[in-house]
């Protein structure tokens, strides 16, 4: 572990939770999970820890990559342990404490319990909490890390999950060019300005500022990929009216989170805009907001894309606090 390298050192200042002024109040509260430098460091170690998978080959960070705002760059569907392929595209990890549900179908409603889903999924990490706790208990490194955080070497699910929450909870992106423009600290080009106007007209009903999602479930008109056997939100709610509804994802850092959609079917933003702007490509059950989107001409699409690129937040993408301390 690189605890001598100042690049990876975490100070009290590093773990101060700063709520952006224009963001709504978060859903998750740290009141029963006080963020400390030691807790954050433990969470970071666990996030990048291969022991969390059955054969110790993959960690959360294997698929949730910092450069992609913790999505999985260039992967439509991700591969977990033993090369198994899942049926959904990996979402980014940004501004999670403002989400009241997680996963494309919103099946997880507790940020603390979220890691259990990929841990248990046989296509992802195929492990159990019992297996992980056993491995961590056998590790001097983890006994020391837990001691640093909690004052004793008891390693249990609650402590592990809360430490991970301290780490992912601080993944806050609010310093893109768009954010600076909103604060009056940056200037948009005429194209970016035009793109913002088009965005607000066509996209913001669901991709609402400042989170760029309204955290609702929508059918955006994609024809289902029958090979994936995915009914979306209906699996969780059991309501037939929720079939093929998926959670509106955030568009922050969209430049880096390709490919797009719940099944990663669109590699480029222009593909996304072509889809939204072509009514014939939508299913009849597409959301009314999607049906209202007007077709855009080439210039409009270009400007809209230029606006979307202003959501790239290099401070977040290169934030050293979230780097893998064991990267060789």
């Amino acid at each position: 572990m690189n605890d001598e390298n100042p690049y990876f050192k975490i100070s009290k200042k590093d773990v101060k939770l700063i709520i952006p002024k224009n963001f709504p109040p978060p859903f998750y509260s740290f009141k029963n999970n006080q963020i400390t430098p030691e807790g954050f460091v433990l969470g970071r170690e666990l996030f990048y820890e291969n022991l969390l998978s059955r054969d110790n080959s993959v960690s959360c960070g294997s698929c949730h990559q910092r450069i992609a705002a913790f999505a999985h760059i260039d992967h439509t569907l991700s591969h977990g342990i033993y090369g198994r392929i899942g049926n959904r595209n990996i979402p980014s990890l940004q501004n999670l404490i403002w989400n009241n549900s997680f996963m494309w179908d919103g099946g997880v409603t507790s940020l603390e319990m979220q890691p259990l889903a990929p841990i248990n999924n046989p296509l992802e990490m195929d492990e159990s909490m019992g297996g992980i706790i056993g491995k961590l208990q056998n590790s001097v490194k983890y006994r020391n890390l837990f001691q640093d955080v909690f004052g004793d070497t008891l390693i249990n699910s609650e402590r592990m999950l809360k430490a991970m929450t301290q780490f992912v909870g601080l993944m806050i992106s609010n310093n893109s060019k768009y954010d600076k423009y909103i604060e009056g600290k940056a200037v948009f080009t005429p194209e970016e300005q035009h793109g913002l106007e088009l965005f607000r007209t066509n996209c913001a009903s669901c991709h609402t500022e400042p989170l760029f999602t309204n955290n609702t479930f929508r059918n955006n008109g994609l024809i289902p990929d029958s090979t994936l056997h995915d009914i979306g939100r209906e699996k969780i709610s059991t309501k037939a009216s929720d079939k093929y509804l998926y959670k509106v994802p955030t568009l922050r850092n969209i430049e880096m989170t390709y490919p797009y959609m719940h099944d990663g079917r669109y590699r480029k933003l222009k593909d996304v805009l072509n889809f939204y702007g072509t009514a014939e490509q939508h299913t009849s059950s597409a959301d009314p907001f999607v049906k209202k989107i007007s077709p855009l001409d080439f210039t409009e699409k270009t400007d809209l894309i230029l606006f979307l690129l202003t959501l790239t937040d290099k401070e977040f993408l290169f934030d050293r606090r979230f780097a893998d301390p064991n990267m060789k």
Partner: protein, 254 residues
């Protein structure tokens, strides 16, 4: 799970339950209160995992390989109408014999006429994030893909099962309408229980698995060998609201 981890999990379970499992010489004064002793049956037969064959309402044979459930929100009702509550959660597992005895200590003296509890975990605790003890996700009673606890797990096999491997699998959860599987169980005592010093009263409960598979809905293993999502969970939950009866109350005097 490997044997070592099962052993460790068993030790952890004991460690958690030790404060409650206190009929030991360690306490200076013998505990007073109530001992809930859960006896698991299938109809009139004692439950024996794996080896014993039972039959359901439709005469379909089956064995049981796993049986776990949560009880919580225990209330003891006094004869003056007041209630005494025990806020803890308990995970009862057929294969962990120590979990089938729950000691409720330091109950205020008085006359108690009935007990009430829920089978399941209340909505607050389904939403409270990572917890320890009975609610620790290490117990494998938590749905990782649909946040919430599995209130009752009944697993087994039947040659009449239409599922692969002759599997029977009933994982029942759900804490929000319309899929709310929490059930309140109220059991009056034939005679009031008097709690006084130096007396432990043992309530022998019968948990009847056969009732999970019938009344109001008779389960046919050919049609419903598994319920492990919210779909149909309510059907099983309505069945399991009557699995508990009191089969005996004994006072243990010191």
């Amino acid at each position: 799970m490997t044997r070592t981890i099962e052993f460790k999990a068993g030790i952890i379970a004991l460690y958690i339950l030790l404060p409650f499992f206190s009929l030991s010489q360690k306490s200076k004064n013998p505990p007073e209160g109530i001992l809930l002793n859960f006896n698991h049956f299938v109809g009139d037969k004692l439950l024996v995992l794996d080896d014993t064959t039972y039959v359901n309402e439709l005469n379909q044979p089956y064995i049981v390989t796993k049986f776990n459930y949560y009880i919580s929100q225990i209330y003891l009702l006094k004869d003056n109408g007041k209630e005494y509550s025990i806020p803890n959660h308990f995970l009862i597992s057929e294969d962990k014999i120590e979990t089938k005895k729950i000691v409720l200590e330091k109950i205020p003296s008085g006359k108690y006429t009935s007990i009430r509890f829920i089978l399941g975990v209340d909505s607050l605790h389904n939403c409270s994030g990572a917890q320890s003890g009975a609610l620790d996700p290490i117990n494998a009673m938590f749905w990782t893909w649909n946040t919430g606890y599995i209130f009752l797990k009944l697993e087994g096999k039947s040659t009449l099962s239409s599922a692969i491997g002759n599997t029977l699998e009933y994982h029942i959860g759900g804490y929000r309408m319309p899929n709310n599987s929490i059930r309140t169980i109220s059991l009056p005592f034939k005679n009031p229980i008097v709690i006084e010093k130096k007396q432990m009263t043992e309530i022998n409960m019968k948990t009847d698995i056969s009732e999970i598979l019938k009344a109001p809905t008779t389960i046919d293993f050919k049609i419903t060998p598994t319920v492990n999502t919210l779909l149909n969970a309510k059907m099983i939950a309505d069945n399991y609201s009557d699995i508990f009866t009191i089969i005996g109350i004994n006072g243990i005097k010191y």
